[in-house]
């Protein structure tokens, strides 16, 4: 049963991903990506990572994808569909990808399974508690640092999307005309 669920989610993930990178229509691609991300979220669930599952759904599907869709609608979707969707280097690209895939798969085949971990008593606490425990104890520093990261991201988003002040623009156009 778990197998079946796993394969379903895996198929969903990969199909969504494939569709994402092959669709002409940006909106379709974005929706496929949502599909894929949901698949990944499902896989998280099968691996008993409930907290991450929730985060995936909330953050990704809820926030990131909305952002994507917003941008897609901001830019001119129609004109984007007229042009050639794929780059001319596709033969080389596919060869490269195949090489990475094959070499990666071969290395995994040889290297797996990983050595068994030292036996540990299953924690009584639920997943979320465990995560919180580890996050705030062992990973306190990155957690704090992540705030910096987000600060930078917000700052960047604001800075990059902000239109330049009208006054400045005027001054500049005067300069250039003069």
């Amino acid at each position: 049963m778990t197998n079946l669920i796993f394969y379903c989610f895996a198929a969903m993930t990969l199909a969504g991903a494939l569709l994402t990178v092959t669709r002409r229509n940006l909106v379709h691609a974005a929706l496929s990506l949502i599909l894929s991300l949901l698949g990944v979220a499902g896989l998280f669930l099968t691996a008993k990572a409930e907290f991450l599952f929730a985060a995936q759904i909330l953050l990704y599907v809820g926030a990131v994808m909305i952002l994507f869709l917003f941008v897609i609608f901001l830019v001119n979707v129609e004109s984007e569909q007229q042009v050639r969707p794929f780059s001319r280097q596709w033969p080389l690209a596919i060869a490269t990808l195949l090489a990475i895939l094959l070499a990666g798969a071969a290395l995994f085949r040889q290297g797996l399974p990983l050595p068994a971990p030292p036996p540990r008593a299953a924690s009584a606490a639920g997943n979320t508690e465990q995560v919180a425990d580890v996050l705030f104890y062992q990973y306190a520093l990155p957690f704090e640092a992540a705030s910096l990261l987000l600060l930078v991201a917000i700052l960047g988003a604001v800075l990059m999307t902000r239109r330049r002040d009208a006054a400045l623009l005027d001054a500049e156009s005067e300069e250039t005309s003069a």
Partner: protein, 468 residues
């Protein structure tokens, strides 16, 4: 409650982020005030670093970061680059009608991220720090958002940077998966008993190296660098070419000398290939450039090649050479880029007749160029010397010879700039503006370059101490 000791270990990052936040919040209009404030922050950071240096070996946050001379040394290199950038940026930004406050905030945040990378010994910490710095750099690169070049540079840098982040993360995830820990020491300990040629380890290693080569702009992962350096605001180019590279090399060194040390036979050929390719591509592509920024960008790729050769040698001399190289590279490359910051355009022709117009500017540039070429009596000589020495010590004669030959090639393009400076201009060019901060940065950088060339002992001692 986090113990005060732990906070002490990240004191520079704390200081920097506090000052960054303050800068962002205060929104001072006066550029000079912003610069002064940022410099005050840097001064405090320097103080923090200096205080930290007497607590070598102190680990914080359960072994997430460590205070070791190595980290402090490279942090100092980043610090120098940041200070130079702060000194110079105001004038360039004013020229483009951009906010200094936001810019400086980002610079400080980037530096804060890098301090975590340099002194971090735990994957997640390092990664978050790296990403903080990287995001800041993307934004800084695209800071002149009305300029298409700046946009383009930022976007290319972002796309390839994100790709490299992905690869790096993939490698980190495998490394974690193999050992069940994210702390370098624990990883190294758990890998100890295992086959250093374990296939999954190899996969981790190759993706990690790919990601890191991206970050240090080693060929063939370097291609973002010339475009990014050229398109970015010049002070950012300086910062990017130096601090970012120093931090990434710090990580590379910590990995290669730590968890991956046992797998040397696997990664050595890759590093050799990257080093030689960097030397070749960097030097040859720089030969005929017309844009000085791009020329310096390619030259910085080539310098990356030399530093990697130190890793190839892999003995103490080699490591000393590498970090010494990083320090001195930061000074001279930052100096050269920052000197460029005052120029309206960056093509070679701008330098024509500089010696007659502004002799001291020309002399400073010359000092940087000579140092970049690695000729004594400038600072650039000794790190190259150390690297060659280490290669000879470890019997890598061929690499030493190749490196030496490329010194001659590099001479050609550095001297193209010098040559322009002494040509008489056909049409008189205006003097480049020389604001105070710029003068200070360029002056200090050139004097340091010269002084460390004549007496490299302090730097050498420091580097030697950093590896104890």
């Amino acid at each position: 409650m986090i113990p005060i000791n732990d906070l002490f270990t990240i004191l520079p990052a704390l200081v920097l982020s506090i000052f960054a936040c303050a800068l962002l919040l205060m929104r001072l209009e006066e550029a000079g005030l912003n610069v002064g404030f940022a410099l005050a922050g840097e001064a405090l950071t320097a103080l923090a670093l200096w205080r930290q240096s007497s607590y070598a070996g102190l680990a914080g946050f359960l072994g997430s970061v460590i205070l070791d001379p190595f980290g402090i040394f490279l942090n100092a290199a980043c610090w120098l680059a940041a200070v130079f950038t702060i000194l110079v940026c105001a004038h360039s930004l004013a020229h483009e009608n951009e906010q200094t406050g936001d810019f400086l905030g980002l610079v400080l945040l980037a530096q804060a991220g890098m301090t975590l990378v340099v002194s971090g010994v735990e994957i997640v910490t390092v990664f978050v720090g790296l990403e903080t710095a990287a995001l800041s750099f993307y934004i800084l690169t695209g800071f002149y958002r009305a300029r298409p070049e700046s946009n383009e540079a930022a976007l290319k840098y972002f796309l390839l940077g994100a790709l490299s982040t992905g690869l790096l993360l993939y490698g980190f995830s495998l490394l974690y998966g193999l050992t069940g820990s994210t702390r370098f020491a624990a990883i190294a300990a758990r890998l100890e008993g295992r086959d250093p040629q374990d296939p999954v380890l190899l996969l981790a290693l190759v993706t990690l190296l790919a990601g890191l080569f991206f970050k240090v702009a080693a060929a063939p992962f370097h291609m973002w660098a010339p475009d990014a350096y050229q398109g970015a605001p010049t002070p950012v180019s300086a910062f990017l070419a130096t601090a970012s590279k120093v931090a990434s090399f710090a990580l590379l060194l910590r990995l290669c000398a730590g968890p991956l040390a046992a797998s040397r036979s696997a990664w050595e050929p890759l590093v050799v290939a990257a080093a030689l390719l960097s030397l070749t591509i960097g030097n040859f592509a720089a030969l005929t450039q017309q844009s000085v920024k791009r020329l310096l960008a390619y030259s910085s790729v080539a310098h990356g090649g030399y530093i990697l050769l130190g890793l190839v040698a892999g003995n103490r001399t080699g490591f000393e050479g590498m970090i010494l190289y990083l320090l001195i590279y930061s000074i001279m490359t930052a100096g050269a880029f920052l000197l460029l910051a005052s120029f309206e355009k960056d093509d070679l022709g701008q330098f024509r007749g500089l010696l007659y117009r502004q002799p001291w500017v020309a002399v400073a540039m010359l000092v940087f160029l000579v140092s970049l070429a690695g000729l004594p009596p400038t600072a650039g000589f000794f790190p190259k010397y150390q690297i060659f020495l280490s290669l000879i010590q470890t019997r890598h004669y061929v690499y030493a010879l190749i490196g030496a030959l490329y010194v001659a090639v590099s001479l050609y393009y550095y001297f193209r700039i010098a040559r322009e400076m002494i040509l008489e201009p056909e049409t008189p060019l205006a003097d480049v503006p020389s604001p105070m901060g710029w003068r200070a940065a360029v002056g200090v950088a050139s004097i340091l370059t010269l002084a460390l060339g004549i007496n490299p002992q302090p730097a050498l001692d420091w580097a030697r101490g950093a590896l104890r």
